[in-house]
Amino acid sequence: MRTTMRVLSLLALLALLVPACGAPATEAPAEAPAEAPAEAPAEAPAEAEPIKLTIWWWGEQEAPGAQAWLDETLALYSEANPNVTFEAVLQSTDTLIPAFQSAAAAKEGPDIQYFWGGVWTIENAWTDAIIPVDDLIPAEEWDHYLNVFERQYDGKTWGVPWYLSGNPVVFNPELFTQAGLDPNAPPATWDELLVACDKLRAVDVIPIAGGVKDGWFGGWLFSILARQPHDSEKAFMEASVGQASYTEPKFTEWWGRLGELKDRGCWNEDIGSLDYQQGQDLFVTGKAAMLFGNDTFLAGWAQTMGWDKIGLMLTPQYSDGALADDYIVTAQGWGITSWSEHPQEAADFLVFMHTPDRVNAWFKATGVLPADDRLDTSLITQPQLQQVYEWDTTRGGPNLENFIPSMMDEQANFAGVQLLFAGDATPEELGQLTEDVNAKWREQNPDAAANFEKWIE
């Protein structure tokens, strides 16, 4: 007991002595500059200034391998810039937005934040949570970034794209062959899609897999199907602010087409009680022949089912608007927060992410295409990914979910698709629901509606 007390007393004494000894040591350099010669390197103190950048991100969720790449990139950057350290926090899908909203309310949190494109980025500009980055990044850099338009508002750019996320229709060539369909000529028109459904059903294969219980797939279906009669994403932005009506046939037709697929037995019967991920698993496990998928998952699926069971096609067409035959692609990216004390350093790091070495390393680590045209395309050896790259760069079109109010996405698209599959609403009723939700959004949030109007310009 006595020994213990002695040890504790000694530790207490040491605890008192260490700060006491430490104080002069930290004070000493403060006096040094005064005595230092005038020609002392002026940049030395600035170089030594320790900078910590906090990053909140999400990419590993849809780009497995991103964690390793980011760790390596942070390490390389710190190696070249020893005064810069990082704290990277991986967010889940459900915490990505709430966590940042809380941070924005407190003006405290990350320096660099991951954002989906379009409204998911821009609405943070409206609340002054992020800053424009045009002047922080050299003009010649911007020439290489892809899909920058999603982050532009009021003549400024509010973020930096990172990687591309597109929506092909994925199919299983083996199951197509089994059903008597030609995998080299997958359905290109709506009628051909319906015929393919019939043939796949006839051999007991689920034609298209899906899960709408968690809602997210409802938003995807909107973006994939609702676009076809339209020429631009602005049509939807205009309808959202009341300059057009979602009850017009051009806007309700997709509900009817989706209902047609349901009535024809194209979907798995349990689509209403499965989450999107569970629906996707039906395709990956070879039970379903087609999937309205995401190209960021292709490399991961190939590890499970093999590239030979993955074919790609564009969404079969039912209409002839300019958006009908494009390839939906968005760039997931970054923004710099308004409360960051080191915006330039944050921007410098984002530029570093886009160096050719890092861009190529990204593709090697994830199999996901970077939002930068400096990718060494000889690295893309899989024909399916070559196809995606070609679509990305020649016929890329907007992801409509990024250009509508999030309330509409949730209360009209998510909920509406669920109601349609539950058999509780007609296309006309769902058109009216969409119109009502947008009217409510404008009434509850006139400021955001005004910002949307400005965005359309």
Binding site: S273, E410, Q411
Partner: protein
């Protein structure tokens, strides 16, 4: 004398300051936010506009209706807990094991429970497979994908999880009742039913009141986890509840002022029940000490 009168307040002051900082400030801030709206990028006072808008929002009204429907779980949970507690109090064989088994769901995290039941209640899930296997396939339903069945399914899970707490509460109280009371009733010729009616239930009255109020508070403001994990409020808002509505308003639609207005309303309604619970506890304490 004057000093002594104020002296207790001096001792209480640090704790009061802490309480005001931790609970008072957020509440005041919440009320202020609920009375504001962003106009041209700046918060502006708009009186009760947010509250008026709420009552015109069909999704909010649906959420309130669903919370009211969830109140139906309260009598079922209380009644079931009472019956199970009485049976366990009879010391049926293996009662300790049953007690532990019944309490176990209450200890499990809501997210885990929600996930497991999500799998059980899928159209192609365990329950429907079981029904098919025993030749009752006609009863198989899309428990979570149907707008009419999703809310009752969630209610079932709430009851399954919460009933164990009631059982343990009731059993603990019963075990503290003097055995002589039951013996006296038996000597007087009371049958099993009369024993419960005239001894057990009166002895449990305060605990039943307490559990009822706690259960009401739970279904009004503690069901977010169940709904978020099992249905996300769907299909088509069929299981939307006010807590989830607050979350969506605040964090998905970026409308913190509207979310604050709902939170104030929810807090007021729950506050009434918390006050009621405190009064009951006070009465119960008085009963114990008198």
């Amino acid at each position: 004398m004057q000093y002594r009168k104020h002296e207790p307040w001096l001792y209480l002051a640090p704790a009061l300051v802490m309480l005001l900082a931790v609970f008072g400030y957020p509440f005041v801030r919440l009320v202020i936010l609920s009375l504001q709206r962003t106009q041209a990028g700046v918060p502006a006072f708009v009186g009760l506009t947010n509250y008026q808008l709420l009552f015109r929002d069909d999704v909010f009204l649906q959420a309130v209706r669903n919370n009211l429907k969830l109140l139906l779980t309260v009598p079922v949970t209380v009644g079931l807990a009472l019956v199970l507690a009485v049976f366990l109090f009879e010391r049926i064989m293996g009662w300790r094991l049953y007690r532990m088994t019944l309490f176990l769901p209450y200890l499990l995290p809501i997210t885990a429970v929600g996930l497991v039941f999500s799998y059980i209640f899928q159209l192609s899930g365990v329950l429907n497979d079981l029904l098919e296997a025993i030749g009752a396939g006609v009863l198989a339903q899309d428990w979570l994908g149907s707008t009419t069945l999703a809310l009752p399914t969630v209610m079932f899970v709430i009851i399954w999880k919460e009933v164990g707490f009631g059982v343990v509460l009731f059993l603990a109280r019963l075990m503290s009742v003097e055995e002589e009371l039951f013996d006296a009733a038996r000597v007087d010729g009371a049958n099993w039913w009369q024993l419960q009616r005239h001894v057990t239930i009166p002895q449990l009255a305060t605990v039943i009141e307490f559990f009822t109020v706690i259960s009401i508070i739970t279904v009004l403001s503690w069901v977010f986890g169940y709904v978020f994990v099992m249905t996300g409020g769907g299909p088509g808002n069929a299981t939307m509840v006010t807590e989830l509505y607050v979350y969506l308003m605040g964090f998905r639609y970026n409308q913190m002022n509207m979310a604050s207005a709902v939170s104030v309303l929810l807090l007021l309604v729950t506050g009434v029940f918390i006050f009621l619970e405190l009064r009951l506890r006070e009465r119960s304490d008085l009963g114990l000490t008198s």
